[in-house]
Amino acid sequence: MAVFSEKPIKTLLLHLALIAAVIATLFPLFWMVSVSLMSSAEANRFPPPLLPAAPTLEHYRMLFSRLNLAAYLLNSTLIATSVTVLSLLLNSMAGYAFAKLRFKGRDRLFRLLLASMVIPAQVAMLPLFLMLKEMGLVNTYSGVIVPGMASIFGIFLIRQYALSIPDSLLDAARIDGAGEFRIYRTLVLPLCKPILVTLAIFTFMGTWNDFMWPLIILTDSDLYTLPVALANLLGEHVQDAELMMAGSVLTVLPVIILFLVLQKYYIEGLVLGSVKE
């Protein structure tokens, strides 16, 4: 079809609307970067300047030299990576079992898990804190990592994907005498690679961005993750717009890069997760 000759004005308007929407959406992010490069107090002007008069990295330098940001960056990376690796393993095993292994009450158990996703995480938080205290995990990395190691959503995602693996393939492997764990490792995992990547991104970003739980469980500032450290910083440096913006840029940048690189997987996974049987 000769779309463009057909409705040039409409096409133009649609694109203009989209560009306007994109500008409005990206403006806060653009402004964040711009202000982070301004010299101190430059943002406290009226009208607010759009671009720094003389870009400077002084705030980034300050974050690393005086405010220990490298340590928080490391903490966040460590925690998010651990949770991602461990949860990928455990969720994929469980998801595969729900999809392909047979046992009594399988579907009922799965539906029960799904239904419990309605329970807000906050309900569990108070006793969970007391429990982790008894285990000696308060104020440790493990206190953040362990409760995130298995997730119902992760199991659900893997199961949805694993359902599409043909049973014949698995049966053939069984006839060849392969054990279940071998099948899982050499056959299922490679086949599930796309969804594993998706789940990895979800988990990594979710853990990276998580705020409430690390806020509660980590009391020692040496262990803080980036969002907690940033909120802490905000309490003291409310007036230093440029410094806070630099901290925000450093917090957001890793997840944005991760998303842009792996967006195909991310968006496919999101759609899969939202499609109900």
């Binding site: 308060v138 020692d220 309490g235 003291e236």
Partner: protein
């Protein structure tokens, strides 16, 4: 792999080498104080080479929960700052160590009596005042003069007369006094001035329908009824400093932090036209009492370095350090001797606080106080808005407070069979 090992090696060696014999003290301080106090630490570490202080700064907004979660999670620091109204809670938790054997009688006398008294629970000292605050009157001298008052009011009657005169001044939308109606402090100060006990029977029940509280409450409501104060809450005052400069209100009951703020934020032309004064009294006993506020330093009971921790507290309590801290933050020293220094002795607006600090009393020292205070604020606002009558508000307040204190009554009964 080996390369990384080599790179890390010097760092690791360095970390072990220099600090081997040093004892590390964990010190939590809040907000601006937490940031500023770090600059006092090199001097402390110079005086005590065997000690190293790790200061952790906690925002005020998260301070209370951070301390409690740290307690619950067995992760308390050695020394920490806490608001002096929080001390009863930490005593109930047995989270703070008693300082009775550490503070000498001579040192003790140097502290404002009303303030150090807030740190004493059941006759034992559990914290040492670090800096102090209280509330008193900030006022526009020029407006008071215009209304015919050359000096700040000393009694409630003078205060009312001054408010009436200011309200009668020409020039539209203006009020004599700003009383944010969602704050519990002013009604409580007035009641304490009347000698109200707030709670009765060893703080088993609310005592808000007593004559003393009722009279204070009526005085407070009258200020609104007569139109001397606008019926607004704190959040509705868009820019306090601008409104004070424009003469929207001429008097305001607030704390020492606003000296710094007013000096910074009021226009230059305004600087010679405002002053501070102690609270008026209901009778001739000027100045009237006000609240004993501020922050204290405490040692965690769980600390294994209590003696070293005390050294840090002692250091921060030295008059010179208190002065240095005042210069850095504007926080008022807790020790009288620090106030003799010219820096403070010549600051007239701050000196009013000195006078007031000799006349302060504490609110009931029970863990439930914060909740009770929020109830007072809630019902005061309802009464100001006219949603409840004076009688209904006080009755409801008593009822709610009795409910809050139910557990306390049960515990007291259990303890004394």
């Amino acid at each position: 792999m080996r390369l990384i090992g080599f790179l890390l090696m010097p760092a690791l060696l360095g970390a072990c080498g220099g600090d081997r014999e040093k004892t590390v003290l964990e010190f939590w301080a809040m907000g601006q104080e937490g940031e500023v106090v770090q600059s006092l630490m090199p001097e402390f570490e110079r005086l005590h080479p065997e000690l190293q202080v790790k200061v952790q700064q906690i925002p005020w907004s998260a301070a209370h929960e951070k301390l409690l979660t740290a307690y619950a999670g067995d992760a308390m620091p050695d020394v920490f700052q806490l608001g002096n109204t929080w001390i009863p809670e930490f005593v109930v938790l047995k989270a703070v160590d008693s300082l009775d054997n550490r503070l000498t009688a001579q040192q003790r006398e140097d502290y404002f009596e009303g303030i150090i008294e807030t740190n004493e629970i059941d006759g034992r000292l559990h914290g040492l005042p670090w800096y102090v605050d209280t509330r008193l009157l900030f006022y526009r001298t020029d407006i008071l003069v215009k209304a015919g008052f050359s000096a700040p009011p000393k009694t409630w009657n003078e205060w009312l007369a001054a408010m009436a005169a200011i309200a009668a001044l020409p020039g539209g939308d203006r009020y004599a006094l700003l009383l944010p109606m969602n704050e519990w402090q002013v009604p409580v100060i007035l009641a304490l001035q009347m000698g109200s006990e707030l709670l009765r029977d060893e703080a088993r029940f609310g005592n808000f329908r007593s004559d003393a509280f009722r009279q204070a409450f009526r005085f407070y409501l009258d200020i609104f009824r007569r139109g001397y104060a606008p019926a607004v809450s704190e959040a509705q005052i868009a820019n306090l400093y601008q409104e004070f400069a424009s003469g929207y209100f001429a008097m305001y009951v607030t704390g020492p932090w606003n000296i710094v703020e007013f000096e910074h934020r009021l226009p230059k032309s305004m600087q010679g036209r405002w002053a501070t004064a102690p609270m008026p009294a209901p009778d001739e006993s000027y100045p009237g009492v006000s609240l004993a506020g501020g922050a204290s330093l405490a040692i965690a009971r769980s600390s294994s370095r209590k003696d070293q921790a005390w050294k840090l507290i002692e250091f921060l309590s030295e008059p010179e350090q208190q002065l240095a801290f005042y210069r850095l933050t504007g926080d008022l020293p807790a020790r009288r001797s620090a106030w003799l220094h010219p820096d403070l002795a010549t600051a007239t607006r701050t000196q009013a606080f000195k006078t007031q600090l000799e006349r302060v009393v504490s609110t009931p020292k029970i863990p439930e106080w914060e909740r009770i205070a929020s109830k007072i604020a809630h019902y005061t606002e309802k009464a100001v808005r006219g949603e409840l009558t004076e009688e209904q508000a006080l009755a409801a307040l008593d009822k709610d407070v009795d409910r809050i204190l139910e557990k306390r009554r049960w515990l007291l009964r259990k303890r004394a069979p």
